[in-house]
Every structure is written in structure tokens, then in C-alpha cells.
């Protein structure tokens, strides 16, 4: 691989990795009360057949 190719690879892979890690970090560190709407946290989710 040539130096220019190495640069393109590091820039591309680095960008998507940083974006991915930042997004996951941001999601996981959001205050739970603001983001967790546990509509389906009950044991019986409403989308299944009930007798």
C-alpha cells in the first residue's frame, strides 16, 4: 500500500470508528429518564397473541 492509500484508509476507517464510538457513547450516557421509554418493559409485550 502506498502512503496516500494508507492516509485514505486511516481517514476513512478512523472517521467511521470515531463517529460510531461517539454515537454509542452519547446514547449510553443520555439520562435514562429522558431517553428510556420502556413501553415494552413489562413481561407481556402487547404485540403477541393473547388468549
Amino acid at each position: 500500500m502506498q502512503p496516500a492509500g494508507l492516509f485514505v484508509m486511516i481517514a476513512s476507517v478512523g472517521t467511521v470508528t470515531v463517529l460510531f464510538v461517539w454515537c454509542v457513547w452519547k446514547v449510553l450516557t443520555q439520562p435514562a429518564a429522558e431517553v428510556e421509554h420502556l413501553h415494552g418493559a413489562d413481561f407481556e409485550t402487547p404485540d403477541v397473541e393473547r388468549p
Binding site: 500500500m1 463517529l19 443520555q30
Partner: protein, 570 residues
């Protein structure tokens, strides 16, 4: 007005993983590397990044916003969403495309999913029985042809571990069982477990590939560095014949040596010359933009109705902006950082550039890579891992394709999960059986993939982004997108959503139709058109008939339902 929505996601991370799981598929690991390498990594990535910003993210966000808006008003199907957003009696029939497309794609996608499972088990068996490893490309090709039934209709449907049938039965059953478990217990659970497993296994395979070095010291030109250069070097050095045909691509760590080798090769062939393609000359090629935009578009799974339906199960103040961005970022990570570093370097290290160049998606995935893993130290183990990664990527996508159909049947017919899964299971079993039976040259699969999996997706995506920007309204859409959002979008996305994205998409679609349907620049239209109108291929016509039957059935279901009154206030 329909009754308020009652189905829902269990957590924010769950819906993100589900959308990401829907997007991450075989294309991330097999199609993307081939596309990037064909056009030169540097130029391709520029067009790819621009397409991501002006097509991928905007269409995704539009779907998230429209889906959640309609979901709060009791509509979960794409037909319902369209009906809710546009008070016109025909809108629900346009929206039904959002159920037809994923349903028909499911019918052939599970066939490919079954291949990945079959190959996983084949490599797991080879771990204990080395005679099952492949030793030549011809052997690998012959195995694939026999496995999928390329040589004759119906030949893959035999009860044999080295044939499609047993894996197809398992995969179809698994999909139906998981979808029956519902949104939170089925799709969400699978994706919450499957996506981390996919990333971890991919990282293990990646570590193996990047430490391969030069597997055969007698062939120093076959190594990982050359493979990475083939994928990522911004320019291309080609040896071109007198008639313009590319004879070979030359890659070397030293640009001067690369040029010298190319000139040496050209001198050996009468009339051949060396052609150097720079980043700028590549960017001037419309084919590159078409390829980059197409890859972003299909890779992110935007535009075919799944995100629309998934978002309809969100709560009124659930975040959309960060969730959409995270799902897209997960897909891009899997595609660029994992797929971009695994597939081609491994293939080039064992087979050289000549063995890899010109391979299509299936050729690379199911002819070249099986041979690569057969030759790699501990390759059976890594082969099983790699194909299992593809299987996870496939099942998280195929599950998402069933939900739009389930949502439509439940909404329109007022039936429960058991009834809708039963109906859909019967329909998909017939469709999948059709695709699996007509396996000669993969004609049915190929025809459906072209007309539904490509052409109709383009159409629905254009309709959706125009619907968002011009009918739902950019102000209302912007407000919906930011209700409960953890991030605020920069305002320059407003004109992108309203003007740039639709214009870019229409342009790309126009170019795509001219090149792939009409056959612009070629002597005759593409095979997909000649199959239908010149050759009158019966399997191609039967495939179109299948789509028409599904469309008519779903349209009739909607027409006979009282859930979509012409007067929305009713």
C-alpha cells in the same frame, strides 16, 4: 382514524440495534469492498461520504420522523403512514409499496441467508474433516453451483447438508418464530444479541486477516499490504488493451515500481498501454457517483419502508436524530472499518489481484472467500466465523423485512400476531419456494433483486423524500424530527431534505435507469429488459407475476379495510 398504537420497543438501544441490524447485511462485507476497489478507495470514499450526507442520513431521518408521527396516530404500516400523512384516497395504495418491497425481497433474501448458514456449517465440518476444504477455485465454484442449484431448476432442493433445502427450512422457520415473538421479544432481542456478536466475531476475523502477511513466500506479490493497496490506494494504474479493455491492474507499495511493472506488462502485449487514473479523473466519472450513491442507499436500507414501520412503534418523545445517526454510524462502521479491511486483503493475500479482479458480489463471497479460508491457517474456524457473521447480518435484515407485512396485515385486517404470521408465513413460503425452485442461473432471484430490490426501492425512496419535504412539510417534519431529540441538526439539513436530496436522488435514479434499464452506451438494453421483452424468458415473467400477485393481494386487503377511510376525521 385508527386506534392508537399499542406495540412498542423495549428500549432506545433496542430500536437502534434493530435499525442497524436491518441495514447491516451481506453488502457491507462483500459488495462495498468490491465497489471501492473498482473505483480506487480515495475517489470512491469522497463520493461515498457526500452521498452519506445528502442521501443516506436525510432519507433515514425523514423515515424516522414520518413513521413516528403516523405511529402516534395509530398507523404502523407504510400504507397507513402514507394515508395518515396525505389525505388523499390513493396515497395508501402508493404506501403499499412499503410492504410489497420488503416482502418480496424477503422471499429471495432468505435463500441467500440459507447459503450463509450452509457455508457456516460446511466450514465447521471442515474443522473436523480437512477433506471438506476447497483446494481450487474451480472446486469452490462447482460446490457453490451445486449448493444453490445453478445448473438446473429444483436441483438445490434435496435433503443434503451440501444443498440449499435443509438450511432454507431452518432459516424460514427461525424467521417466522422470531417475528411471531413480536417487536420487543423477537426482533429487538435478536438484534441486541446479534449485533455485538457480529462486531466481536468480525474483529476476530479482522485480526487474523491483518496478521496474514505474505502467506506464500514464493509469491511475494500476494500479501495483505497489496490487498489493502488495491482497496484503498486513491489512484489506479491499469494496463489497457488497444480496444480499451482493462487487462490488469498493477499495485505496488512504491509508485515508481508500480509504473515500471505496468509498463513491463503493457510492453508484453501488442497494442496495450498504461493508463493512470487520478482521484480527480475518477471523480469526473458518473459511474463512480452512481456506484457510491447506490452503495450508500442500499447499504443503509433507507427508502424501502422498514425504518418507517420501526419508527411507528416509538413513543411521542423518543429521540429520533441521535437514534438515526447511531444506526447509520453502526452500519458505516461495519461496512468501512470491518468489511473494508477483511474481504479484499484476505482474498488478495491468497489469490493475488488476478484472482480477485472482476468478481461480482456472489463470486467474491461464495467462490473466492471459501477458497481463501480453506488455504488460511486455522481457516476452517475463521471461515465458519466469517460466514456466521454473514448469517447474523442476514437474519437481522430479513427479520426487518417481515415486520412491514405483519404491520399491514394486523392493521388492515385487525387480526393478531398469530393470524398475521400465519398468513405471511404461507405467502413467503410460496414465494421463497418459487425462488428456490427456479434456481438455474439464479434467474428468479436475480430478476426479483433487479426489479424490486433495486428499481422499486429507488421509486419508493424518491416518493418518501418528496413526501417528507413537500407534502408532510419541512417545518412539520423538522419539528417532528426534533421532538424529544438528544441532538439538534444543523439548519443546512433543511434545504438538503427539501431540495438537494430529492434532486440528487432523481438524478441518480435517472442515470441508473439509463444505464441499467435502457442500456445507455451499450448496443442493447440490459439483460433484465431483454429477458422480458425480447427473449420472453418464462422465469423472468413468472417472477414479475409473483410481484403482481403480492401487490394485488395487499392492495385488495387495504381496499377492503375500514382502517383507511377517505375522510381522515371519520
Amino acid at each position: 382514524m385508527a386506534s392508537p398504537q399499542k406495540d412498542s420497543w423495549g428500549s432506545r438501544l433496542g430500536v437502534i440495534m434493530a435499525v442497524a441490524g436491518s441495514a447491516v447485511g451481506l453488502g457491507n462485507f462483500i459488495r462495498f469492498p468490491g465497489q471501492a476497489a473498482q473505483f480506487g478507495g480515495g475517489a470512491f470514499m469522497i463520493a461515498y461520504a457526500i452521498s452519506f450526507l445528502i442521501i443516506g442520513l436525510p432519507i433515514g431521518w425523514a423515515e424516522w420522523a414520518m413513521g413516528r408521527y403516523a405511529g402516534q396516530r395509530g398507523y404502523n404500516s407504510a400504507a397507513g403512514v402514507f394515508h395518515c400523512l396525505v389525505p388523499w384516497r390513493g396515497s395508501k395504495y402508493i404506501g403499499v409499496l412499503g410492504a410489497i418491497i420488503p416482502l418480496v425481497i424477503f422471499m429471495y433474501y432468505v435463500v441467500i441467508e440459507a447459503w450463509t448458514l450452509g457455508y457456516t456449517v460446511r466450514f465447521a465440518r471442515a474443522f473436523f474433516d480437512p477433506t471438506l476444504r476447497f483446494s481450487t477455485v474451480a472446486e469452490s465454484q462447482a460446490y457453490f453451483a451445486g449448493f444453490v442449484g445453478k445448473d438446473g431448476d429444483g436441483t438445490a432442493l434435496r435433503l443434503d447438508l451440501d444443498a440449499l433445502l435443509p438450511w432454507l427450512v431452518i432459516v424460514c422457520g427461525l424467521n417466522l418464530v422470531l417475528i411471531y415473538r413480536g417487536i420487543s421479544k423477537g426482533i429487538q432481542k435478536v438484534c441486541e444479541i446479534g449485533m455485538p456478536v457480529l462486531v466481536i466475531l468480525s474483529l476476530v476475523v479482522l485480526a487474523r486477516v491483518l496478521t496474514l502477511g505474505t502467506p506464500d513466500p514464493a509469491k511475494p506479490e500476494q500479501n495483505v499490504s497489496i490487498g489493502l493497496g488495491y482497496m484503498w490506494n486513491p489512484g489506479k494504474t491499469l494496463v489497457v488493451a488497444a480496444d480499451g479493455t482493462t487487462l490488469a491492474e498493477v499495485v505496488d507499495a512504491d509508485p515508481a515500481a508500480q509504473q515500471a511493472k505496468a509498463e513491463q506488462l503493457a510492453a508484453a502485449t501488442a497494442g496495450a498501454r498504461v493508463e493512470r487514473k487520478t482521484v480527480l479523473s475518477q471523480l469526473a466519472d458518473p459511474d463512480l457517483w452512481l456506484a457510491a450513491a447506490g452503495q450508500i442507499f442500499f447499504s443503509l436500507s433507507v427508502g424501502f419502508g422498514v425504518i418507517l414501520v420501526y419508527a411507528s412503534y416509538l413513543g411521542p418523545r423518543d429521540d429520533l436524530v441521535l437514534s438515526g445517526l447511531t444506526a447509520s454510524a453502526t452500519n458505516e462502521f461495519c461496512e468501512v472499518a470491518l468489511g473494508g479491511l477483511i474481504t479484499l486483503p484476505a482474498a488478495v493475500a491468497f489469490l493475488g489481484l488476478a484472482g480477485v479482479a472482476g468478481q461480482g458480489t456472489f463470486g467474491l463471497g461464495f467462490n473466492v472467500l471459501p477458497l481463501v479460508f480453506s488455504e488460511m491457517p486455522a481457516g476452517s474456524l475463521f471461515g465458519a466465523m466469517f460466514f456466521f457473521v454473514l448469517f447474523i447480518a442476514a437474519i437481522t435484515s430479513s427479520l426487518s423485512m417481515l415486520q412491514p407485512g405483519i404491520a399491514l396485515l394486523e392493521e388492515a385486517l385487525g387480526i393478531g400476531r398469530k393470524g398475521s404470521v400465519g398468513l405471511l408465513g404461507t405467502l413467503t413460503a410460496l414465494g421463497t419456494g418459487f425462488v428456490a425452485w427456479f434456481s438455474r442461473d439464479l434467474k428468479a432471484l436475480d430478476t426479483l433483486d433487479f426489479w424490486v430490490g433495486t428499481f422499486l426501492i429507488f421509486v419508493l425512496a424518491m416518493i418518501q423524500i418528496i413526501l417528507f419535504g413537500w407534502f408532510f412539510g419541512i417545518d412539520r417534519g423538522w419539528e417532528e424530527l426534533h421532538r424529544g431529540a438528544a441532538l439538534r441538526l444543523p439548519r443546512f439539513f433543511r434545504p438538503i431534505l427539501r431540495y438537494v436530496c430529492p434532486a440528487f436522488l432523481v438524478t441518480i435514479f435517472g442515470l441508473w435507469v439509463m444505464e441499467n434499464v435502457i442500456g445507455w452506451g451499450r448496443a442493447e438494453p440490459s439483460n433484465y429488459v431483454t429477458d422480458l421483452f425480447e427473449k420472453g424468458n418464462p422465469v423472468a415473467w413468472l417472477s414479475i407475476g409473483l410481484v403482481v400477485i403480492v401487490a394485488a393481494g395487499l392492495a385488495f386487503t387495504i381496499a377492503s379495510s375500514k382502517k383507511y377511510p377517505d375522510d381522515l376525521s371519520a
